[in-house]
Amino acid sequence: MMKRIAIAALAVVSLSACARLNMDSSQLDSARKAVADAKAAGAERCAPKLQAEAVSSLYWAAHEVTEFGVHPDETASLIKTAQDNANAARRACMAKPAMKEVIKLKDVYFAHASAKLSHTSDATLTRAVALLKRRANIDVEIAAYTDSNGSDAYNLALSDRRAASVRDYLVSHGINASRLTSKGYGKMHPVATNATKEGRAKNRRVALRVMN
């Protein structure tokens, strides 16, 4: 009798270690593909939270399918969560190309409320041209930002024109246009407070965002 009890107890202890994940289950095909597609689109870098939620849901579903119909609704819900999050992560990456490096361009100035470059910007822009010639393998987005004075629409349009103005300068100084895009971000992403003159001056800026 004691012998049987001992064997049964040890068997329980042994079997309790048998929980596993069945990642190869055909039930997970769609979610697995969605996660793989998102990963290929760079989701681990550009949408890490969504991709992690997708992968953890996939793992959890891979565990639930080993329980053979114990929680069918839960399994279906986890598969859907994995798929939805992975698709959202992939879309996020497609909408926002992965950016690898930001090169700040100090001292790029424009005439007030205009996209006309000031002559005091020449030294910085000359260095930017040299840098882009030296690093001929990089493509960049020229990003321009404003301070918070004025409406969103006004600042967005002004920053758009200023970014395009810098792009035109770089192209006119020998940088291949196919390597350059320009985008205005308006008052978005401030780097300093807009409550002070110094802060607003810091927020009015131009940067090169390396995209490859």
Binding site: V13, S14, V55
Partner: protein
């Protein structure tokens, strides 16, 4: 003799999986959370999500599944340490 052999064999299979019995799922999860505070990399998010799943499984009485997930969480946390 056969009885002793069976006991030893079962113990040999069981022990590796039970090795972490003395460290609770919660304490291992707390350690992961503390280590990854402020880390917003993919591996850190995944480690935290897997820790949460481990806790859920443990609360539902599936200790072995909880251990599988906390082990995976610790593996992801180790990857995350280099990606802060």
């Amino acid at each position: 003799m056969r009885f002793i052999f069976i006991i030893m064999a079962l113990l040999a299979f069981a022990l590796p999986a039970q090795a972490a019995l003395f460290s609770t799922i919660d304490s291992r999860g707390d350690k992961i959370s503390a280590e990854l505070k402020g880390n917003n990399s993919y591996h850190a998010y995944l480690a935290r999500d897997l820790t949460s799943i481990a806790s859920s499984e443990y609360d539902e009485g599936d200790a072995s599944a909880a251990r599988v997930f906390i082990n995976k969480a610790e593996a992801e946390a180790a990857k995350a340490r280099g990606t802060k």
